[in-house]
């Protein structure tokens, strides 16, 4: 069996593990050889690898942001734990882990504890859906993009639950802002995605990425859609121009005011998990995913794990742009945010759908030539 995908690796590990156990304890050899059992264990191993990879990437993302933001602000960022502060976030996480988690007296216990947990778990679910390279998962979901966006939009529910149940006025205002903001920005995001679907003719992220390979990504015909999508993503991630729900100047910490210790860490982590997933989504939808344009020398894409390398590089660059925006722009106001969402982005996203449809009809771009396969 050739090991080409991560699933193969997981399956191989599960087989080997069960085989080893069967070798040591011969009576168990036959029942352990059950294909379903191997498949189940392989799924577990697959999930564990995925979780570890995404968590490490998330924490690296936090480090990346801290260092980069530091340079934008003429300072250094984390310095001392590990080389250039690489392990600082692990140290911070350990500290939060050791802290006491306490609940305000009048807070609702179930919501208070379940909210952040569910928020983190649903955010992590994203990585089960997003393909990271051709060798990542076996097969593909036909509607994976839709599924990713659905998972992505779970968040306001849990934020609101945790905000409401922590029984704090700031949390409440923050939760309401969060809900309003995320709902307002779902619409332009979905419309921008429609433009992508129109051009690629598929809801499958694998297909979308492969389609882009032929055509120097889609930045030119889908520039407008990309701007709308990135702006919407900024709002969905609650990053700085749109971080009203946790606007610390007026709302202390917004919806996570009452949280401390590990529950706060859940929120922080989930925020960055969402940031990572969102950045990956942007790369997949607009920047060619793990592929490079077809005229790039093959040597650049043929080394081992090249797909993951290029995807992560692009992801970090996209996230770097977010950090840049954070370093340079103040936060907008709630009404302005909603006005930007409803009055500017939605018309823009509708326009982007029209533009995309026009491209599909013409199948040509003035400078770059014609692409017969466009539009599926």
């Amino acid at each position: 069996m050739a090991i080409t995908t991560l699933w193969d690796v997981a399956y191989f590990m599960a087989t080997a593990l069960l085989g080893l156990v069967g070798r040591i304890i011969p009576p168990l050899a036959a029942p352990l050889g059950n294909v379903d059992l191997i498949w189940g264990l392989a799924a577990l191993v697959f999930g564990a690898i995925l979780l570890a990879a995404s968590m490490i990437n998330t924490i690296m993302l936090i480090w990346f942001e801290r260092k980069m933001l530091g340079r934008f602000m003429d300072r250094r960022g984390a310095m001392h734990v590990g080389y250039a502060g690489l392990l600082q976030n692990f140290a911070d996480g350990l500290k939060l882990f050791r802290k006491n988690t306490f609940k305000p007296r009048d807070a609702d216990g179930l919501g208070f504890y379940a909210g952040p947990t569910a928020y983190l778990v649903t955010s992590l679910l994203m990585f089960g859906v997003l393909p990271v390279s051709t060798g990542w998962s076996d097969g593909s979901l036909p509607l994976s993009m839709l599924l990713a966006l659905v998972i992505f939009s779970f968040a306001p529910l849990f934020i609101f639950i945790s905000a409401w149940s922590s029984n704090n006025k700031y949390s409440l205002i923050g939760g309401m802002r969060s809900a309003a903001q995320m709902i307002a920005y779902e619409v332009p995001i979905l419309l921008a995605v429609v433009a992508v679907v129109v051009v690629s003719g598929s809801f499958d992220l694998n297909t979308i990425v492969n389609e882009q390979r032929n055509f120097w990504f889609w930045t030119l015909p889908l520039t407008l859609a990309m701007i709308v999508f990135v702006t919407g993503m900024l709002a969905e991630m609650e990053r700085i121009p749109f971080d009203l729900p946790e606007a610390e100047a007026e709302l202390v910490e917004g919806w996570n005011t009452e949280y401390g210790g590990m529950l706060f860490a859940y929120f922080m982590l989930a925020d960055y998990v969402r940031a990572l997933a969102g950045s990956i989504l942007i790369v997949l939808l607009f920047l060619g995913g793990w592929t490079l344009p077809s005229y790039v020398p093959a040597a650049l894409t043929s080394f081992p794990l090249a797909g993951i390398f290029w995807l992560m590089l692009k992801t970090y660059l996209v996230f770097g742009v977010f950090v840049w925006i954070r370093a340079a722009l103040p936060r907008v106001r709630t009404d302005q945010l909603l006005r930007i969402g409803w009055m500017r982005l939605i018309p823009l996203s509708l326009a982007s759908v029209v533009i995309a449809a026009a491209f599909v009809l013409v199948k040509c771009v003035p400078v770059l030539g014609c692409v017969p396969s466009m539009g599926g």
């Binding site: 980069m68 530091g70 340079r71 934008f72 602000m73 003429d74 300072r75 250094r76 310095m79 840049w324 925006i325 370093a327 340079a328 722009l329 009404d335 302005q336 006005r339 930007i340 500017r344």
Partner: protein, 260 residues
């Protein structure tokens, strides 16, 4: 929505598009500059008072650190030269926070024990009045600023501890108070004096000598004056103007003023 409150701040129509190019460019320029070396100092490892580090970051055009030199005149922990201290109490008098106690140190004669300042840094406000007041220059402030400690009692620095700091030869604050050229002296209200010797006894510099004065016979009908026929004479050049004599004078006959 309460009807009586007018909604404000919504009159100006907003731009259709938000122009954000300038701040982005400014941040990017700063990013590029900081890539070489950010302006911050990695504090416990790099210190501005360290001359080697100072040379390294010295004048470099366009960098905020090293725009100029750094002076050694920070008002930090005190250094005390116990040997030259004359126990004049001026530092304790001058302290606005009452954080200086005069404690006995070994070395004085048993009759007049030598007293030196002990400073409670929990109260000290680092105003420098004490080192300004010190007439002998034995109490001065150093650039040392790290004195955090887990115990509050350790914030009280005894004279010996400050003497150790003195012996470490840290950079001292070179600024001395420029004292006015012709200061007030201590004057005597002669008719009030009873010659009790209190001022001469307590003078830290021993600049007061009690001189005999001719005995004045009581006028007829008056009781003879109850006094010792001596009078303090103050050697102005030795006087540090601590005012101890004024405060101990039982008859309030010494006062500040100018010879004229």
């Amino acid at each position: 929505m309460a009807a009586d409150v007018e909604q404000k701040g919504r009159s100006k129509p907003e731009n259709p598009f938000l122009i954000i190019g300038k701040p982005l460019a400014t941040a990017a320029r700063q990013f590029a500059k900081s890539l070489i070396r950010p302006s911050t100092i990695v504090y416990p490892f790099e210190r501005l008072e360290d001359p080697k580090f100072r040379e390294e970051v010295a004048i470099r055009s366009g960098r905020p650190i090293g725009v100029g030199q750094v002076w050694d005149n920070y008002r930090g922990v005190h250094a005390l030269n116990v040997n030259t201290c004359i126990s004049c109490n001026l530092c304790a008098f001058s302290c606005p926070d009452l954080c200086i106690d005069m404690v006995t140190v070994p070395g004085g004669d048993p009759k007049h024990p030598k007293k030196c300042p002990q400073i409670d840094y929990g109260k000290c406000s680092y105003c420098g009045f004490c080192s300004d007041a010190c007439p002998e220059g034995c109490l001065s402030m150093t650039t040392r600023y790290e004195l955090s400690t887990p115990k509050r009692a350790e914030m009280v620095y005894s004279p010996q501890k400050m003497f150790e700091i003195y012996q470490r030869k840290l950079p001292m604050n070179p600024i001395r108070l420029e004292r006015p050229a012709n200061e007030d002296s201590i004057l005597l209200d002669v008719p009030l004096c009873i010659g009790c010797n209190a001022c001469a006894r307590d003078c830290p510099t021993e600049c007061i000598t009690m001189l005999d004065i001719p005995k004045v016979a009581p006028k007829p009908g008056e009781k003879p004056a109850k006094r010792i026929w001596k009078e303090p004479v103050i050697n102005d050049s030795d006087c540090v103007r601590c005012g101890t004599c004024i405060s101990v004078c039982p008859k309030e006959c010494l006062f500040w003023g100018t010879h004229s």
